[in-house]
């Protein structure tokens, strides 16, 4: 097992990883940018190294500085968290080349699964259901037209290197296709430096379902059930729950098998997430694989009892998975609300000083946050300041718990998305579990 882990991240996920290290008896090294010098993870880690100025490109994404910090503190592994360097195949490769353990899959796996059209090809080859669409990147205009006609409109044009909604275009009819392809290519080129795009069938109002995967270096893979992440705003998840109200035991078994198959098809190792699109007729399609720990991992921890960060560390250290698929049961129901320092109406960020921060407590409430009273929300970084997780014996209890937790949560000095979450939780459709990726737009339209 590792003796010392450097955490190449900040905020709540850095704190989450420090906590796991502490429980495993592993020393932790926090790296930080200048404005984060007094942050909670820096306070709570065993060692601290300043790695750059506020700009993430010069600090948390600064590969030489992160690696030097690991070297000088004698760390034997680096946990990248999510965001920043977590899905950077080059960083993973450099780690491998200098003998530093990157806590995640191999650099080849990151590179392969990061190239959406290549990943699609591999999955097609293994008979995995992917969205109907082009085989690999679109090469010619004729190619684009042929594919779109075959899968039927509407279609979506996506950048191979894309993510977070950039380089995407939805096309409703044939006449608009070529212009959309060109626009997506231009956006992909400027955003990702690679203009390859592919075409998929576009579903109206599907659910976003993802399965958590654990895989050890010996090829043993289990899934930990699903998370329903359909409540999104412009591809940004806001509220997640597990299990999904749309998935019964049979469908879970079916989708879970496919998720495991996806992992096996690329000899995946460490933790990962297989993202599915689920339509209203229980048809599902694999969209992509995320090769890192997800923001919303806590809801899976709550319903399975499995500490995903500890497992991630153990798997990276080469330990075999201690569980079989039959040992995994989902007990109860968990919901996560991402509390962002944003205006709950316009979603404009609300950075500043948090004069008072009093998280809720009690039974079934979990708070993952690196905020504290007199802490700061920095304009340079992500606006998420806390994850509130509510757990209950069933969905009804979990929703009542998290609503109570939101009520109790005191955050003064910045605007937060707490009122938005209260609106979502009060919505009759949401309460019935009738949600899809279009839910939030409808909620705002219906005011």
């Amino acid at each position: 097992m590792f003796k010392k882990i450097l955490i190449a991240n900040r905020g709540e996920i850095a704190l989450r990883i420090i906590r796991a290290c502490r429980e495993l008896g592993i020393r932790s090294v926090a790296v930080f940018s200048e404005p984060d010098a007094k942050s909670l993870p820096v306070q709570l880690a065993d060692e601290q190294v300043c790695i750059g100025p506020a700009d993430g490109a010069l600090s948390y994404r600064n590969i030489p500085n992160v690696l030097s910090a690991a070297e000088m503190t004698g760390a034997d592994a680096i946990h990248p968290g999510y965001g920043f360097l977590s899905e950077n195949a080059h960083f993973a490769e450099v780690c491998e080349s200098v003998g530093m353990t990157f806590i995640g899959p191999t650099s080849e796996q990151i590179a392969l699964l990061g190239d959406k059209s290549k990943a699609r090809e591999v999955m097609l080859k293994h008979g995995i259901p992917v969205l109907p669409g082009s085989q690999g990147e679109i090469q010619t205009e004729a190619d684009a037209l042929a594919v779109a006609r075959q899968v039927g409109f509407p279609v979506i044009v996506k950048a191979s290197a894309g993510g977070g909604g950039r380089g995407m275009r939805v096309v409703g009819k044939e006449a608009d296709l070529l212009r959309a392809v060109q626009a997506a290519q231009a956006e992909a080129r400027s955003s990702f430096g690679h203009d390859g795009v592919y075409i998929e069938r576009y579903f109206i109002d599907p659910r976003h379902i993802e399965f958590q995967i654990l895989a050890d270096v010996h090829g043993h893979v289990v899934h930990l059930g699903e998370r329903d992440c359909s409540i999104q705003r412009r591809y940004q998840k806001l509220l997640e729950e597990s299990p999904s109200p749309a998935i019964d035991d049979d469908l879970r078994k079916e989708m879970g098998k496919i998720a495991v198959k996806v992992a096996r098809s690329v000899r995946y190792r460490n933790v990962g997430t297989v993202e599915f699109l689920l339509d209203q007729h229980r048809q599902f399609y694999v969209m992509e694989v995320n090769t890192r720990i997800q923001v919303e991992h806590p809801i899976t921890e709550m319903v399975t009892g499995i500490d995903l960060i500890k497992e991630q560390i153990r798997l990276a250290a080469g330990q075999p998975l201690g569980i079989q698929q039959r040992d995994v049961t989902l007990t109860g129901h968990a919901v996560e609300c991402r509390i962002n320092a944003e205006c709950p109406e316009t979603f404009t960020p609300s950075p500043g000083s948090v004069s008072k921060f009093r998280p809720p407590g009690g039974f079934g409430i979990r708070v993952d946050s690196a905020m504290e009273s007199s802490g700061r929300v920095h304009p340079h970084y992500d606006s998420m300041i806390a994850k509130l997780i509510g757990y209950g014996r069933d969905r009804e209890e979990a929703l009542a718990r998290i609503y109570r937790g939101l009520d109790e949560f005191v955050i003064e000095g910045v605007k937060t998305t707490i009122p938005l979450h209260q609106r979502i939780l009060s919505d009759p459709d949401f309460q019935k579990g009738h949600v899809s990726t279009g839910f939030l737009d409808r909620l705002f339209a219906n005011r």
């Binding site: 300043c50 100025p53 030489p64 690696l67 000088m72 503190t73």
Partner: protein
């Protein structure tokens, strides 16, 4: 900053505020406070401004000896994380010694990071007042390496 330091600052602000002076500076082992009253033409009472710096890192390096009046000096900080070396190799002389005069752009040390030697140049003409880091020690981003007196002129 510790809460008792806040308390001290508050007291100092009050002391100054009740006087007719314009500036007050107190320096202790690892703590320095400067309070200034801007002489402004305004409708309200003059506002005191506070500048406080935790100089514990600095003081660790300069020990308890008479610290030079640092505010007039230029501090060269490390732009990267790595290992500090005062000379190109163990066998050769140091790039600079305390008391040496340097030119802007002159290499004054190297910082090794990921097996690469990064040469650090002086940001100014002047005299090396103090080398703040021991040879071959690990340094973090922004860590002060040298104090340079930019107004010193070779005799």
């Amino acid at each position: 900053m510790k809460s008792d330091q806040f308390r001290e600052i508050k007291e100092l602000v009050e002391i100054l505020d009740e006087s007719h002076l314009t500036e007050l500076e107190v320096e202790r082992k690892d703590f320095r406070v400067r309070i200034k009253r801007d002489v402004v033409v305004s409708q309200g009472p003059p506002l005191p401004t506070v500048t406080a710096r935790d100089e514990s890192v600095l003081s660790k390096e300069t020990a308890a000896s008479a610290a030079p009046e640092s505010s007039q000096f230029v501090t060269v900080t490390s732009p990267i994380v790595g290992t500090f070396y005062g000379s190109p190799s163990p066998e050769t002389d140091s790039y600079v010694e305390e008391g040496d005069f340097v030119k802007k752009g002159q290499v004054i040390c190297i910082v090794e990071a990921m097996k690469l030697m990064n040469e650090i140049e002086s940001e100014t003409d002047g005299r090396i007042v103090k080398i703040l880091v021991e040879n071959a020690t690990s340094i973090e981003y922004g860590q002060p390496l040298f104090l340079i007196d930019p107004v010193a002129i070779p005799a």
